[in-house]
């Protein structure tokens, strides 16, 4: 149950309360977690830090989650990505991503991260 990973995780979420609560939970299992509140900040961190896994919302100010994913995938096509979104139809257009729908189940997000980092 209390499993985790040392992998570097980037979590992009514009809603502060959601970001705060989610990170508070995930950091117990994944100590190396970075956060960003919009796409540009996310892309910035991604370039600077050696990120292994991306967890992102799709609807983001300044630079959307789609754009961020596109940019990362253009460098590394198989980069592991988890999308958290409330809009199923949006996520369905993305290939080769794991999706955790909002309202987010923390257990589901934990399990998905474990699977992807294995």
């Amino acid at each position: 149950m209390h499993k985790g990973s040392e992998k570097n995780i980037l979590y992009v979420e514009d809603e502060p309360l959601t970001r705060e609560l989610t990170v508070k939970f995930l950091s117990r299992f994944f100590p190396n977690i970075y956060t960003a509140s919009d796409g540009i900040e996310g892309a910035d961190i991604f370039k600077k830090e050696g990120i292994d896994i991306l967890v992102t919302d799709l609807s983001l100010p300044n630079m959307s989650g789609f754009e961020l994913i596109e940019e990362i995938r253009s460098q590394t096509p198989d980069f592991p990505i988890i999308v958290t979104t409330a809009y199923r139809e949006q996520a369905e257009n993305l290939e080769n991503v794991k999706v955790v729908y909002k309202p987010v189940s923390l257990a589901e997000l934990h399990q998905t991260l474990l699977e992807i980092s294995a």
């Binding site: 514009d14 809603e15 309360l17 959601t18 609560l21 989610t22 508070k24 939970f25 117990r28 609807s59 100010p61 409330a86 909002k102 309202p103 987010v104 189940s105 923390l106 257990a107």
Partner: protein, 682 residues
């Protein structure tokens, strides 16, 4: 110069000349031996002039001499014949010569009276003197003496008788001609002479009595009749433009011997013309496809019914003559009914009647007829004339049209009903669409707070399991959760306002609403240290409000009346002011200021300016600020409905306009609303 000018003059004045000569003859007692009718005299004068004309042709005045011997002298020939005739009538040479001299003198008088001089008249006198010699020579011819002496008395008597008969014949006002037993004209009365003289334009010298100027056809007619077996004959003869009715009768003496022919002519040209015209019109009427009925004024029996009517009805004219209009018009139950209608014509109440009636044919079938009946006087007889059209086709077309119209009406009503139904359905659809929009908009707004709430709920168990569930955690959980719940609740309110349709439009005072909004928002503005003011320009008075004084002084009521949705309008103002507040806060403006000005001076529109110093609208989004769901705020903070809602209300529900312009420090929103006019008496 010859006799031309004189003869021309005399010919032109032949009537005058004839009268003068006849008077001279009468005065000197010659009428016992000459005809007395002016027509005969005119013929005689015409003969003199024509023979003179022929004589003088191609002759110079110098050539005309009394003793000259001409190879041919028409004037002399004319005179010789006249001598012969007058000798037989019993005139003496002295008498005839005297008459001739009288004529000569009379003509000379006439010429002088009319401006001819002696020199001009001279050749004429010479000619006449030559004529006198001719008369004397001719009269003294021995042959004539011998021939005439035997019958002299008899001839003279006969001439007198002939003159008597002529007088009688001349008293008839129609042309009469007597032919002798060889069908040569023997007696011609004035009318005949005049008529045939006028008809015949042959330029022939006319000798008195013996040579009647009769057209050839008249003589031929007599010859033809003479050789026929009939004793009497009536014939119609067309001569030129004239038509004659000729009644001829053979004359027999006591012994039964054929003595001649009497012929009475009547010029029936006018009658013929009238008849032809009548025939023509009759033909037109008879063959017209309009039905024409003529019926008696008393018993209403048909007098005449044209072919068109007979064909349609199937009755013969003889059958119809025994019938009345009531017999064919189904609509009239009795003669009395019909008479009542016709009386309107008889009394002159109406000039014509239009009767629409069903006509029954002989075979029992019917047709719809429209009759125009008129009273007419024909040859002094009062008749009714009905011109009838078979309007069965028209009627059936009318009926079709009527039915079509009725169908159309029904169809229009159906279509209207359908349209109403459609509109209803559309309205329903719109309601559903609105509802769908509402749900989707609320859903969109609720996603994040719902997600956050979910995370909180899950966190509680997590914290508890890890022994981290402190009182502080619990309080934080409650506070944050309630905030999220309030946010979600207010989202519902906001969208409900936007989609609400139950508010009724009414007239309200925009100033009242502005004051109300300022009152509501004053505490929030005060809390953020934002200064606000309201200026109303009406009747050149200024009223200013600020956060210290929220009441109205000296402002005239009713200058800012507008028509529309008061609550929605209030929401608009709240949205706009809220935007200003948020902009001021977001841009950390230290001395926030919101100025509201109302221009009530314009008679048509009320203009409201909402001005702030919150930094203005960035150029990049200036074109999008009124788009629905467009927001500059992070998700969850703004619905993006604010300005689109405001524009929608101002445009659609208030009939006004909303514009904005960036100022040095911020932005000014300008609302233009049509004023609701107040009745001056109210």
């Amino acid at each position: 110069m010859n006799l031309d000018s004189i003869l021309q003059f005399l010919k032109e004045n032949i009537n005058d000349l004839t009268t003068r000569l006849a008077k001279v003859a009468e005065k000197n007692g010659y009428f016992a031996y000459t005809p007395t009718s002016m027509v005969s005299w005119k013929m005689y004068v015409k003969g003199i002039l024509l023979s003179l004309e022929k004589f003088s042709e191609n002759k110079s005045p110098a050539e005309i001499k009394p003793d000259a011997d001409y190879p041919s002298n028409p004037f002399e020939e004319f005179l010789q014949t006249e001598v012969l005739i007058h000798r037989r009538r019993g005139l003496s040479l002295e008498m005839f010569l005297g008459l001739f001299k009288h004529f000569k003198i009379e003509i000379m008088h006439m010429l002088k009276e009319n401006g001819f001089n002696e020199k001009e008249i001279w050749p004429f006198l010479l000619t006449f003197e030559k004529g006198e010699i001719t008369i004397i020579n001719c009269w003294r011819d021995k042959k004539l003496d011998v021939e005439d002496s035997k019958h002299f008395e008899e001839i003279r008597k006969f001439s007198e008788d002939k003159n008597k008969y002529l007088e009688i014949l001349n008293s008839f006002s129609f042309p009469i001609v007597f032919f002798d037993d060889s069908a040569k004209p023997k007696l011609v009365n004035n009318y005949a002479e005049e008529l045939f003289g006028t008809l015949d334009s042959r330029n022939t010298i006319v000798y008195s009595y013996d040579n009647f100027l009769l057209p050839e056809w008249v003589s031929k007619l007599a010859v033809k009749f003479m050789n026929e077996e009939y004793k009497e004959k009536k014939e119609k003869v067309v001569y030129g433009n004239n038509t004659f009715h000729v009644g001829m009768k053979k004359i027999y003496d006591a012994k039964g011997d054929f003595k001649g022919i009497s012929a009475i002519f009547s010029d029936i040209s006018d009658l013929e013309h009238t008849k032809n015209e009548a025939e023509k019109y009759r033909y037109i009427l008879e063959n017209s496809l309009n039905e024409i009925y003529i019926f008696n004024r008393n018993n209403f029996k048909f007098v005449d019914v044209n072919r068109g009517a007979r064909l349609n009805l199937g009755y013969s004219l003889n059958e119809l003559k025994q019938m009345t209009p009531v017999d064919i018009m189904v609509d009239f139950k009795s003669m009395g009914d019909f008479r009542k209608q016709i009386n309107r014509l008889t009394t002159g109440e109406v000039e014509y009647l239009v009767l629409e009636a069903t006509h029954r044919r002989k075979d029992g079938s019917t047709y719809i007829a429209e009759a125009h009946v008129q009273k007419m006087g024909i040859n002094g007889e009062i008749l009714f004339v009905a011109i009838v059209s078979d309007v069965t086709k028209t009627k059936s077309i009318e009926k079709e049209l009527r039915e079509l119209n009725q169908n159309l009406e029904t169809r229009v009503q159906e279509e209207m009903h359908k349209r109403l139904q459609n509109e209803k359905a559309l309205l329903e659809q719109k309601k559903f669409a609105d509802m769908g929009q509402l749900i989707s908009a609320i859903g969109h707004q609720w996603r994040q707070p719902l997600n956050a709430l979910g995370l909180y709920v899950q966190s509680i168990r997590f914290w508890y399991e890890h022994g981290e569930l402190t009182e502080e955690n619990i309080r934080e959980f409650e506070r944050e959760s309630m905030e999220l719940i309030h946010s979600m609740s207010s989202t519902i309110d906001e969208f409900r306002n936007y989609f609400a349709t139950n508010e009724k439009p009414k007239t309200f005072d925009a100033i009242d609403v502005l004051l109300n909004v300022i009152n509501i928002m004053s505490s929030e503005m005060a809390a953020r240290n934002i200064r606000y003011s309201l200026k109303c320009h009406c009747s050149w008075k200024k009223t200013q409000f600020d956060y210290e004084d929220g009441c109205i002084n000296g402002c005239e009521k009713g200058v800012a009346l507008v028509y529309g949705y008061k609550d929605k309008f209030r929401q608009c103002l709240i949205n706009l002011i809220t935007n200003s507040i948020e902009a001021i806060v977001a841009n950390n403006v230290q001395k926030g200021n919101i100025k509201i000005e109302v221009d009530a001076m314009n008679p048509e529109n009320l203009i409201i300016f909402i001005d702030d110093n919150g930094g203005g609208v960035p150029q990049s989004i200036a074109n999008n600020i009124f788009d629905p769901y467009f927001t500059t705020k992070h998700e969850g903070l703004g619905t993006g409905l604010g300005l689109s809602f405001v524009k929608n209300i101002i445009d659609k529900h208030m009939g006004g306009q909303i514009n904005f312009r960036n100022t040095y420090e911020g932005v000014t929103f300008i609302l233009t609303l049509p004023k609701k006019k107040v009745n001056a008496n109210a």
